[in-house]
């Protein structure tokens, strides 16, 4: 078998080496995506620029400001001397948050009345604004508790807080989007190398008529398909490994679970992608058409419907149903499970079975179509 496949594999690697288009799809696109996703597509809310208007400048107000600044999320920019400056700063986008402390702040606290502070938040990015309000609330709450405790101890009561909550974020404690995105990114890159590159390489043979010369030789259609898929499978796996290494170096993403399991899951997903590529190649007759079909059936669903960027649970029901056509949806569950949670096969055996079914169906259809086409 290997003797028959070898010449095709060798030939395929030589062609990949010379084909600038395929080469750039295989190398530049993953690199660019990793950089874009890692740095630009950042959902993290951190280092929130914050200005303060302290109408009082008392020890209490300074204490409150201090507890904001030591919380770790806010970055102090300036002290406003005039309340009206707040609006222009937010309009310009120089700060996301302005903390306004009224002149009677400490008087209210000391006399046991409820004191008020004002938070002006830039709501342009709704997600970020929600997060900022959350952080600010937490800081304020903590400060209030401190005051309550102080007051209680002044009147000699042993103080305690009835419920102390301690939130712990598992699997991605620093809430870094990179960690969440990298598994999706690998799926996306594999969809490109697997589906698009494979489809293009087979369709190129049709377009240039070289497939005819193979058809009259004793090479069987299955050998040709395998001989073409093996190089792309290898390249895809190497690309996946490189993304993992790069993600480790740049974003500290480590694989928590079993590398072996990760390898097998990725191999399955690569097979699914190659099957899709083969199917596309039996439909399209030119590289251009093949690229477009491949983009629509693999790249777009992987980006939009797989849960890579948008959570599937928040999609309308019919989109949730459609999302099942993309194998990336299932691969992502497995990947995130292994990379972030370090869980074993018991957590995602259903997804593995789905991938197996997907591969069987797609490969069966495409091999049939491929054979029909050649004879």
């Amino acid at each position: 078998m290997y003797r028959k496949l070898r010449p095709i594999i060798v030939k395929e690697f030589r062609q990949i080496k010379r084909d600038r288009r395929v080469l750039s799809i295989l190398t530049l696109v993953p690199a660019m995506l990793l950089l874009l996703n890692g740095y630009a597509l950042n959902f993290d809310v951190r280092d929130i620029k914050m200005a303060v208007y302290d109408g009082e400048n008392s020890s209490q107000s300074r204490e409150l400001i201090n507890s904001f600044l030591t919380a770790g999320y806010f970055e102090y920019t300036e002290h406003l001397t005039d309340y009206t400056q707040a609006q222009s700063l937010i309009d310009e986008g120089t700060v996301k948050l302005v903390l306004v402390i009224p002149p009677d702040f400490s008087r209210d606290i000391i006399s046991g009345r409820q004191a008020s502070i004002q938070l002006l938040v830039d709501g342009m990015d709704a997600n970020a604004a929600t997060t900022i309000i959350g952080y600010a609330q937490a800081v304020t709450q903590q400060y209030s508790q401190k005051i309550v405790l102080q007051n209680l101890s002044k009147i000699g009561r042993k103080s305690y807080i009835p419920i102390n909550y301690e939130a712990r974020i598992w699997y991605n404690p620093e809430m870094k989007s990179a960690k969440f995105l990298v598994p999706g990114l690998i799926a996306f890159i594999l969809a490109i190398t697997g589906v698009i590159a494979t489809a293009l390489s087979i369709v190129k043979e049709k377009e240039r008529n070289t497939i005819e010369q193979i058809d009259v030789s004793p090479v069987k259609p299955l050998s040709l398909i395998l001989g073409k898929m093996i190089p792309y499978a290898l390249i895809s796996l190497v690309a996946a490994a490189l993304v993992l290494v790069a993600a480790y170096i740049m974003f500290d993403v480590t694989v928590k679970g079993s590398l072996l399991l990760l390898f097998f899951a990725t191999l399955l997903f690569v097979c699914a992608a190659l099957g899709q590529g083969l199917l596309v190649s039996t439909i399209a007759d030119s590289q251009q058409v093949a690229f477009q079909i491949a983009a629509v059936v693999s790249m777009l669903p992987t980006m939009i419907l797989s849960g890579f960027m948008f959570p599937i649970k928040s999609m309308p029901l019919f989109l949730q149903i459609i999302s099942n056509i993309t194998p990336a949806k299932f691969y992502l569950v497995i990947m995130r499970g292994i990379v972030l949670k370090g869980v074993g096969i018991e957590a995602f055996w259903q997804q593995l079975i789905y991938l197996l079914i997907f591969i069987t169906v797609v490969v069966t259809i495409s091999v049939k179509r491929f054979k029909q086409h050649t004879v």
């Binding site: 070898r6 062609q15 240039r208 010369q213 009259v216 030789s217 004793p218 004879v375």
Partner: protein, 310 residues
């Protein structure tokens, strides 16, 4: 001994019959020509014989193997060169040879021998590392032939091998084909260049999927051109033809470029008749001469017979 036997081979695409119950035999070592206009069914026939296309009806045996029952045995024994260049343009000359050699399972030493041979016949020594795309048409075509016969097939199929190649290269190509035939390789070639058909040992003429005549070039000329052919060069070819056509002594008249070919019963009387007829219509006669018939004459004669029938 027949290496190719075809019986009632038929190919239908829906309602359209591309090849209609054709039968013929090809002897070993023969150069067998398939003649016909574009779309006559030549390529379809060749593609069926190579196993690229399944037949609708009929039987064909290539090298002793049934094309429908043992297509893989057939494929091992044939070489095929398609009308459209079908080597890898993005591989080098040597990489193409290596690839096809390996695909046919040649051993290292065998492959090296054959590589030398291909480079020699294609005149590509020193250009082993050129990307195939950069070669000119004639070179590409000889490399394609070389790759098609790398594995020393006993039968080769050439589909319009010389289309798009200049006359000098075309001549050299036919020398190569003659050499192969001398070594005992059976060559089945399609062409629409009628002068090329003269190189063939045997020819069949195909029109609209049917064989309309067959035989050696000499036989064809003897069988179908029984009358002397006169070539008439004159001033107004179209008008002259219209006049001659209606005469009882003109069996067949057709225009060949700037002259007219007339099949006549008797050479001498016809020459005189043509001169007097044309001068009475003020057409200047430059020259009238008896010519040896070409296959083109035969082909046109046969096609005209066909149209008369239908």
């Amino acid at each position: 001994m027949n290496t190719i036997e075809v019986e009632n081979l038929t190919k239908r695409f829906g309602d359209f019959t591309a090849v209609d119950r054709i039968s013929f035999d090809v002897k070993q070592g023969e150069i067998f020509g398939f003649l016909g206009a574009n779309g006559a069914g030549k390529s379809t026939t060749i593609r069926m014989l190579c196993g690229l296309l399944s037949s609708t009806e009929g039987i064909a045996r290539v090298g002793g193997f049934d094309i429908n029952k043992e297509p893989n045995k057939v494929k091992e024994n044939i070489g095929y060169m398609s009308q459209k260049f079908s080597l890898y343009e993005d591989l080098t000359v040597e990489e193409n040879i290596d690839f096809f050699g390996r695909v046919y399972g040649l051993s290292d030493s065998d492959l090296n021998d054959r590589k030398k041979w291909v480079l020699d016949i294609a005149n590509l020594n020193g250009r082993e590392n050129s990307i195939t795309q950069t070669l000119s048409g004639g070179w590409k075509q000889r490399l394609a032939l070389g790759c098609a016969v790398l594995h020393r097939p006993r039968i080769i199929f050439l589909d319009e091998p010389t289309s798009g190649v200049d006359p000098v290269m075309r001549r050299k190509f036919w020398e190569l084909i003659n050499d192969l035939s001398a070594e005992g390789v059976t060559v089945l070639v399609t062409t629409h260049f009628l002068e090329e058909a003269e190189y063939c040992n045997d020819i069949i003429l195909i029109n609209a999927g049917k064989i309309i005549a067959g035989g050696s070039p000499k036989e064809l000329k003897q069988n179908y051109i029984k009358h002397p052919i006169l070539e008439v060069q004159c001033s107004d070819v179209v008008e002259a033809m219209e006049k001659i056509e209606t005469q009882s002594w003109a069996v067949e008249t057709s225009i060949f470029g700037t002259s007219i070919h007339v099949n006549v019963e008797d050479e001498e009387s016809a020459k005189a008749n043509i001169r007097s007829l044309l001068s009475s219509h003020r057409i200047d006669v430059v020259n009238i001469e008896r010519i040896t018939p070409s296959l083109e004459d035969v082909f046109i004669y046969l096609l005209e017979q066909q149209t008369k029938k239908t």
